[in-house]
């Protein structure tokens, strides 16, 4: 195979002691991207499942595509472009720079850290790098995308030791950073539109201030409402959810319990009269569905035990609605709710694991 020969030819240059040996991790990252390595098992099980982290991550990227593609169309639609293809093309051109900036910034940092630590490149950022632009308003300046990506990767992930060790979901951390550091560029009535001069509150903001919204629930479900690029279409997100659940990549326990928690609290607030719209509206507007499907289910930052996942998910959903309803200054509760539960997840797991330990200790007493 020609390509393989080429890679083998330039490999020594990038290996330890080679001219470009300091780029070892980067080279390896690209090589393993192109070719599944020829490493064979040396100890332990001699055969291995063909699933690896690359595949897991690529499944998540595929699951994100419906929401991304619809989001691109919606950018054009909200800007008032007529026709499906022109609207999509308009949105595509608006979105592409954000995606590129996010990937380039994040991957550059990831590669640099992997290089420094002499690690292999981790694939986690394939997902984070796509999630970050999808949770941003479309008109956010590119330098903010770059800065918040850098913040999320360095402070959110690398300081903890990289993929698998982080406490907070990197993509949400990027959004939280942008939101609190650059509030004017991240909120207000104009940020949701790619066309100059067009303004308007999101459905979530309208619900929180007036108790109603100018769109029908169906519009909100399909996603023809203003909002962050990836989060508007509950339908597209559900298609992604189906992919994640079918492949088993995301935890159904978390997804289900987030929706249950959100609905339960939404219903409670509706009944006591704090809100005047049906509970399911919460699931259709803002980042609830997107957060439930793609953010709360991040295996690294969510609860890791099955029992813990139920508690974690219920609390994510409930807290998100609680923040939305009770805190009038800040209508979007999903981001804060997930970040908060990211911090609590280890504690939840701690108690679940303690019960396992208690069961084991009980065995000793039985003997005596």
């Amino acid at each position: 195979m020609g390509l393989r020969n080429l890679v083998d030819k330039i490999k020594p240059t990038f290996s330890e002691g080679g001219k470009l040996g300091f780029l070892h991790s980067t080279f390896e990252g690209f090589e393993t991207f192109l070719f599944v390595p020829n490493t064979t098992t040396s100890k332990g099980a001699h055969i291995r499942d063909c699933n690896d982290i690359k595949r897991v991550m690529i499944v998540v990227v595929v699951a994100l595509l419906p929401a991304l593609l619809f989001g691109m169309y919606n950018i054009g639609y909200q800007a008032g472009i007529e026709g499906i293809l022109p609207a999509f093309w308009f949105g595509f051109l608006k979105m592409l720079p954000m995606i590129i900036v996010s990937y380039v910034t994040g991957l550059a940092i990831e590669f640099a850290f992997a290089q420094k630590r002499k690690h292999e490149i981790n694939e986690g950022f394939l997902v984070s790098g796509l999630l970050i632009p999808m949770v941003m308003p479309i008109s956010v300046p590119l330098w903010i995308v770059a800065l918040s990506t850098a913040f999320a990767v360095i402070i959110g992930k690398e300081v903890f030791g990289g993929t698998g060790m982080n406490v907070f979901n990197p993509a949400l951390l990027a959004r939280a950073f942008a939101f609190f550091a650059y509030t004017p560029q991240m909120s207000g009535e104009s940020v949701w539109y790619a066309a100059d001069g067009k303004t308007g509150a999101t459905a979530l903001e309208q619900l929180s201030t007036t108790g109603g919204m100018e769109w029908s629930a169906m519009d909100a479900f399909i996603g023809l409402i203003p909002g962050s690029v990836g989060e508007t279409s509950t339908l597209a997100i559900l298609i992604g959810a189906a992919i994640l659940l079918f492949t088993g990549v995301a935890s159904w326990r978390i997804m289900l319990s987030v929706f249950v928690g959100g609905l339960a609290f939404g219903y409670l607030f509706d009944v006591v009269g704090l809100t005047e719209f049906p509970a399911y509206y919460h699931l259709l507007v803002g980042g609830f569905a997107f957060g439930a499907v793609f953010m709360a289910t991040d295996p690294v930052t969510s609860a890791q035990t099955n029992a813990g996942k139920w508690i974690y998910g219920l609390m994510v959903g409930a807290l998100a609605v609680l923040i939305r309803v009770v805190n009038p200054a800040y209508p979007e509760g999903m981001m804060l709710s997930i970040l908060f539960m990211n911090a609590l997840a280890p504690l939840i797991d701690y108690f679940v694991v303690e019960r396992n330990i208690a069961r084991r200790k009980k065995l000793i007493k039985n003997v005596k």
Binding site: S42, K43, A45, I47, R55, N356
Partner: protein, 444 residues
Amino acid sequence: MSKNIKLCKGLDIKLAGKAEAVVENAPMAKSYAVSPLDYENVTPKLLVKVGDKVEVGTALFFDKKDPRILFTSPVSGVVSAINRGEKRKLLNVAIEPDQTQVVKELKVVDAKADRSAIVEMLLESGLWTRIVERPYGVIANPDAEPKAIFVSAFDSAPLAPDYNFVLQNDKAAVEAGLAVLARLTNGKVHLSARKGDEGYMSEVKGVEYHTFSGKHPVGNVGVQIHHIDRIAKGDVVWTVNIQDVALIGRFVTTGKLDMTKVIAVAGSEAQKPCYKRIIAGAAVESIVGKVDAKVRIISGDVLTGVKTAHDGYISAGANMLSLIPEGDVYELLGWAMPRFHRFSVSRAYFSWLCPKKEYKLDTNLNGGERPFVVTGLYENYLPMDVYVAYLLKAILVKDLDKMENLGIYEVLPEDLALCEFVDPSKIEMQQIVRDGINLMIKES
């Protein structure tokens, strides 16, 4: 009779090359070997030198930590080599067999004898080394009083031999062996068979009989112990492989040590997958004949076995040789391809479409090692109340208390082999558990 124990977790990996139910006699090998590396935590001290004549049952070396534990020759002949590795570490003692086998006269007592006489008989014959102690999976301590002894009458690993077939003519030996084991404990001897495929096991007297159903690792004795009588801190239990039970039984009934056993030779690269009658420790070459260089020969099953070679020897405890292709090839964009020829438990691939297909899997790692990322997956492949990732992390940080609390006494590397197989992060779990156990032994 107790009720059937059904396990829902686990996985049967369907591999090509299942052994046909035919037993062939392997020719006498040019060489046989006994290796201390087949056992955990043994420090060998030699008793023979090159050129010494030995008989079946002559002690070749003993364990320095307990000189009563002898490792004996499976054949009679001449010690042809004492192979050492780095730092003069003893790898094995090789014996060139005689044409006619001479069996050493050993003192044999029956199951009615004193416990101490039985222990002494087993120690002297070298059969004691076939008794495994849990926690830790080491050779049993002759002074210990095990809470119970567990024997699994079936192996659920991929391509594993069918013991009902292997031991079809050995009912008397199995019964005699179990009767001997019963004398070693004040507790029970638990015998577990697979539901619906019980053979004569259900007729065996003097044991607590159980049946299990489910997928691999249901045949692992560790999993069975977990569901019959869990190991708590301070407990000691022993386990013996059913084929070794028959060896013990044959020894006490015939009075002669005979290390002949039937093993499975299986796997997609086996020329003719079938059963072979061999003597323990035989050279691999004598069992498998000619083998392509691109084939991995595994002493044991594909999940837990030890890599050996054409010029190697079958390890003491192995009841099969697995032959599968080496996977040292690059695969262009493999992680993005449909990969119909490869197997995955994840529906991110397509093996769920053909549940009956027998796969020809190679030894490729199928990815690079990564930190722990996925959660909730491992627990589906270990039918025990153990949080796999938490236990492994406790081992990695060498926290002895946590290891104890999270279940290090209940598992052996083999029990986590399936978790290791499915892990997309490619973490070497069996090695981690082994390291954890060795640390526990060292610190206790």
